[in-house]
């Protein structure tokens, strides 16, 4: 069709939709013209005007009918009637409040789940910076392709790139440091400081609340030290003092003047709360030397990301040619800001899988709502048949039922979205922080416009599932049913699909408690997982190495790490001495991970020469494979200093505890715990045995590597919270003595008199005094270690209980609907049977047969699912049944009671309709239908 005609046709179609009254007036005019012409014809034939008019009208027939027929032939002729359908839909919601409540709740839940998952996934996949032209803000870094790690000592390259890169502008850098902020009249507390280029405030242009932001002049050497503080610090540390600008504060070892306060929410570059100028003049600019920095920039006007990447790669190759020693393995990279450089490859799958799961959940939930709507539509079958007989097409009836479901879905979507927004704002941030450590400013969980669009899509899908499917079922073969109904036969029936929906729902309702059991068990384990010493008397400070002094020339990452390690060890000892001088501190020791925090896992090998292999099963767990080597088991290793076991007052059950002399690299001794003795040594004597450790894999340090050193077990202690409480089974613990700091960041544990939390400022001050760059990201009481895990578990628990309650409610509503429907269908039959003297019990049995079968199958399937799940959880590995405690007689009794409850409540749902049926008077029954 030629485009002009095509456009004209669509214009007419749209006009008939939106300007119905004008189009109707034209139709009236056209029909009136026809009548007039017909009258004139009769006048010409010699009739009188009255006769002509009468004759024309007779020939014309019913004007209203013609008008209606013509209107029905229009494109989407039913569309203008939709508003009426929506009104009817609204009335239906009021008329059936039970259905509205259950169906609406179910749909709201489905949409809530979909919106939350979609928001979280899109937020993580495509973070929105919320800055002007945020898609043009980029990050840059160097990547060592040989060491397969980012090289952050890039000051040399930063300066070079700033000079030469043309495809980016405002190139800046920052150092991420934690410093104690000392405010007069308050204690020193650590804050997240960004030593940052002033261009950051061009990339993230934000008007300061007070004073000014950093300027290029502040970056010059010799300029007075200045700081810009964040809103939260200004509020909490400066008591929202409006005269803060100009005040002098101590930040780490530096006195700086506050020059500005940023508004609430500003945390560029990541989650920072205080900004100081990055002064490159005083730093070592040699290649691959100097502090760790991160870089950011804006794409120059007209430049694309690809062009910038190409230009950077070119510069990178040029630098590598000039400085092969330091740069031959370095690859400069450039990416959009906030996008992870090392995104795992499964991201796309995750991005599709999670919303996919939400859609499946919604379809399942709406399947049930469909069941309810179908049951209701079935009770309205006569109304629908009459409409059909009056000429309403099948599509018209389907649209009406769709509109009804859409009204319900619309209200449910509003509720679901509101709940999602509330939940995301309240729990989304803490949840991400719990999992990620820090929460970058671009993650602000709340319902976005994209999520609202997604929810609208979900609502339409929900309305299709819940409205159109039942409508299609109700309207199929309507003509035939009209005849059948007239002949007295039954009409609609619940088919296999509905049976499957009910069975699935009951099955899930039944199986959910297994999940609750597991979560509850986990919570109990977390709460009761004993550390073996009074953890509430201990304080733990996690210490990370401070900045290493600048190197004169390039050294490899390994050498740099080693130097940094040595400095860290010295710092730790100095901090220990200072803290020990505190009157409330009774002892200090170091351990890499805290008790109940989960420790490093490794494989242990026993010295075969000591004749232990016979004591350990020589076959694998499934009995299929004979293990040719020495017996193995997985153990948890804690790296501790020699005084740790003394600090936690753990007596030696056998042998001795660790001694300072054990720290020497050549001493090679370990202490094991009772879990090790029981599980690895199967109760045999441990002291004097030799063991060595390996990791899984084929390279150095793996089981096949025979150069690994042997360690001698010198003592046994009781179990002291090795492993994580969420970990399955009992841990086998090994305490390996190391000099504090050798294995990187470590926990300093202090035994404190009185409340350990009161000495936190003193601990920070001690660390600050030793080295202001030492970082203490967390200080907590040792019994608080599990509070984060508990928070997440409680959140999951609440969600599972909510899910179970909704599933149960839906199942009950579904069963009730089906039974009500069945009874109303069979009212006449039941009435006659009762009238003829049938035993009420037999009538009830015949009625109950179907729902009972459905519920029975559902409970059986759900029970089997729960059982399989529990068996899987308890599955024995390496000969040890790790979770045998999950199935206790009490739990089995609770589960059986729950199953009976489900069954009982389902039967309760049957009682009302059955009583109604049995109370039917035979005469009324005969008149039914």
């Amino acid at each position: 069709m030629e485009p002009l005609r095509w456009m004209k046709r669509w214009q007419k179609r749209l006009r008939s939709l939106v300007r119905t009254s004008a189009v109707d007036r034209e139709l009236d005019e056209e029909l009136a013209f026809h009548l007039e012409m017909e009258t004139r014809k009769h006048l010409r034939a010699g009739m009188t005007p009255q006769e002509a008019s009468r004759e024309a009208k007779l020939a014309f027939g019913a004007l209203g009918q013609h008008r209606g027929d013509t209107r029905d032939a229009r494109w989407l002729a039913w569309f203008p009637d939709l508003s009426m359908d929506f009104k009817l839909g609204g009335r239906m919601l009021v008329k059936y409040p039970g259905l509205t409540l259950v169906g609406g709740l179910a749909m709201a839940f489905g949409i809530w789940a979909g919106a939350v998952t979609f928001e979280m996934v899109t937020m993580l996949q495509n973070p929105r910076l919320g800055l002007p032209e945020s898609d043009r803000i980029v990050q840059l870094r160097n990547y060592d392709v040989q060491e397969r790690r980012a090289e952050s000592r890039s000051l040399h390259d930063f300066l070079r790139w700033r000079e030469s890169l043309r495809s980016v502008s405002d190139l800046g850098a920052y150092r991420d440091i934690e410093r104690n902020l000392e405010v007069r009249g308050g204690d020193g507390r650590p804050v997240q400081v960004a030593e940052i280029s002033a261009s950051a405030f061009l990339l993230a242009p934000t008007k300061p609340l007070l004073g000014r932001t950093l300027s290029a002049a502040d970056e010059r050497a010799g300029a007075p030290p200045v700081a810009v503080v964040g809103y939260e610090i200004w509020r909490s540390r400066f008591a929202s003092d409006s005269a803060v600008v100009g005040r002098s504060v101590q930040i780490g070892g530096v006195y700086a003047t506050v020059v500005g306060v940023m508004p609430e929410g500003f945390a560029f570059p990541v989650s920072h709360e205080l900004w100081m100028p990055l002064r490159v003049d005083g730093l070592d600019r040699s290649p691959r030397v100097g502090p760790a920095i991160s870089m950011f920039a804006r794409l120059a006007p007209g430049a694309t990301l690809e062009e910038a990447q190409t230009e950077l790669a070119l510069i990178g190759r040029r630098t590598a040619a000039e400085l092969p020693q330091s740069h031959q393995n370095l690859q400069p990279q450039l990416l959009q800001y906030a996008k992870p450089f090392d995104a795992p490859s499964g991201d796309l799958l995750m991005a599709l899988a999670i919303p996919g799961f939400a859609v499946m959940l919604l379809v399942l939930v709406c399947g049930n709502v469909a069941l309810l709507l179908f049951a209701r539509a079935a009770t309205r079958e006569n109304e629908l048949i009459v409409r059909s007989a009056l000429g309403a097409s099948r599509a018209r009836i389907v649209v009406q039922l769709f509109a009804e479901a859409l009204v319900l879905g619309g209200i449910a979507a509003a509720i679901g979205l509101a709940a999602a927004d509330f939940g995301l704002r309240r729990w989304g941030g803490p949840f991400l922080k719990e999992n990620m450590g820090t929460l970058p400013f671009w993650y602000q969980p709340q319902v976005s416009a994209a999520t609202v669009l997604y929810a609208i899509g979900l609502t339409l899908l929900a309305a299709v599932v819940a409205g159109v499917l039942p409508a299609l079922k109700v309207t199929s073969g309507m003509g035939a049913r009209l005849r059948q109904t007239a002949a007295g036969a039954g009409g609609l029936k619940f088919g296999g699909v509905w049976t499957a929906v009910i069975i699935t729902q009951v099955a899930f309702t039944t199986a959910f408690p297994a999940l609750v059991f597991l979560e509850q068990r986990m919570m109990v384990r977390v709460q009761t997982f004993e550390a073996g010493f009074p953890t509430e008397q201990y304080l733990a400070a996690f210490l990370e190495p401070g900045d290493a002094p600048a190197e004169g020339a390039y050294v490899s990452a390994d050498v740099a790490r080693e130097k940094e390690g040595l400095l860290f060890q010295t710092d730790l000892e100095a901090v220990r001495r200072r803290v020990l001088a505190h009157p409330a501190v009774m002892g200090v020791a170091f351990i890499d991970r805290l008790p109940r925090e989960g420790h490093r896992e490794s494989l242990v090998e026993l010295d075969e020469a000591q004749g232990l292999s016979a004591a350990v099963p020589a076959t694998a767990g499934d009995g299929s494979e004979v293990i040719p080597k020495a017996p193995l088991n997985e153990v948890q290793t804690a790296y501790v200093d020699a005084s740790y076991l003394d600090l936690v007052r753990a007596p030696a059950l056998a042998g001795r505890l660790l001694l300072p002399g054990d720290l020497a690299p050549e001493s090679r001794v370990v202490v094991v715990d009772q879990g090790f003795v029981d599980q690895v040594l199967l109760g045999r004597n441990a002291v004097g045995r030799r063991v060595r450790f390996a990791h899984r894999g084929d390279g150095a340090g793996s089981m096949s590597d025979n150069t690994r050193p042997w360690y001698q077990i010198v003592g046994v202690v009781k179990e002291l919270g090795m492993g994580a409480p969420t970990q399955r089974g009992r841990a086998a613990g090994v305490y390996m003595p190391v000099v504090p700091g050798v294995k990187g960041p470590t926990n300093m544990m202090l035994h404190v008199r009185g409340d350990p939390l009161t000495i936190i400022p003193d601990v920070r001050a001690a660390a600050n005094a030793v080295n202001p760059t030492l970082r203490l990201p967390s200080i907590q009481r040792v019994d608080q270690v599990t509070s984060g895990v508990m928070w997440v578990l409680k959140l999951w628990m609440r969600m599972t209980v909510l899910l179970t309650a909704i599933a149960l409610l839906l199942s009950l509503a579904g069963i009730y609907a089906v039974l009500s429907f069945t009874v109303s269908r069979r009212t006449r039959e039941i009435g006659i049977r009762v009238a003829l003297g049938a035993n009420a019990r037999r009538v009830v049995v015949s009625l109950f047969k179907r729902p009972l079968t459905q519920v029975g199958i559902g409970v059986a399937v759900g029970g089997a699912m729960a059982g399989a799940f529990l068996v899987w959880i308890m599955s024995c590995q390496d000969g040890t049944c790790t979770d045998s405690g999950l199935v206790t007689p009490v739990r089995v009794a609770v589960l059986v009671l729950y199953l009976l409850l489900v069954l009982g409540v389902c039967l309760l749902a049957c009682i009302v309709p059955t009583r109604r049926a049995l109370a039917v008077e035979p005469l009324v029954a005969l008149r039914a239908e």
Partner: protein
């Protein structure tokens, strides 16, 4: 056997179901005209045998317009009266050829059957 004479339909609206569209297309193939003129043209062409009721005519016109086979526009008649004129589109002309051929085939098939039984 001689062919059975078919009685002309006596009542209006007796246009064989499915053929009205074809007849309208044929009527419009000569010139554009309004609804009443179409009904008159069909009566005239069928020598007053076929009578097209308004109850069928206007929905059929609406249908044909919807299919893109006819187009409509308001114009003044010779007596300077406003009327809605229908005309055949190019697609409508093509459709007329196809429909007419299909009808001829149908008629000849029916004819063959009637002759052989």
């Amino acid at each position: 056997m001689s062919p059975t004479p078919i009685k002309p339909p006596a009542a209006p609206n007796d246009v064989l179901r499915g053929t009205l569209d074809l007849l309208i297309l044929k009527a419009l193939s000569l010139e554009s005209m309004h609804g009443w003129a179409i009904s008159q043209r069909l009566e005239q062409l069928s020598r007053d045998v076929l009578r097209v009721g308004q109850g069928s005519l206007y929905p059929a016109l609406q249908r044909l317009e919807e299919k893109g086979w006819v187009d409509s526009a308001w114009r003044a008649t010779d007596q300077n009266r406003r009327a809605k004129y229908y005309e055949l589109t190019r697609a409508g002309r093509r459709a007329l050829g196809v429909e007419a051929e299909s009808w001829q085939r149908y008629v000849s098939m029916v004819d063959v059957i009637l002759r052989t039984t």
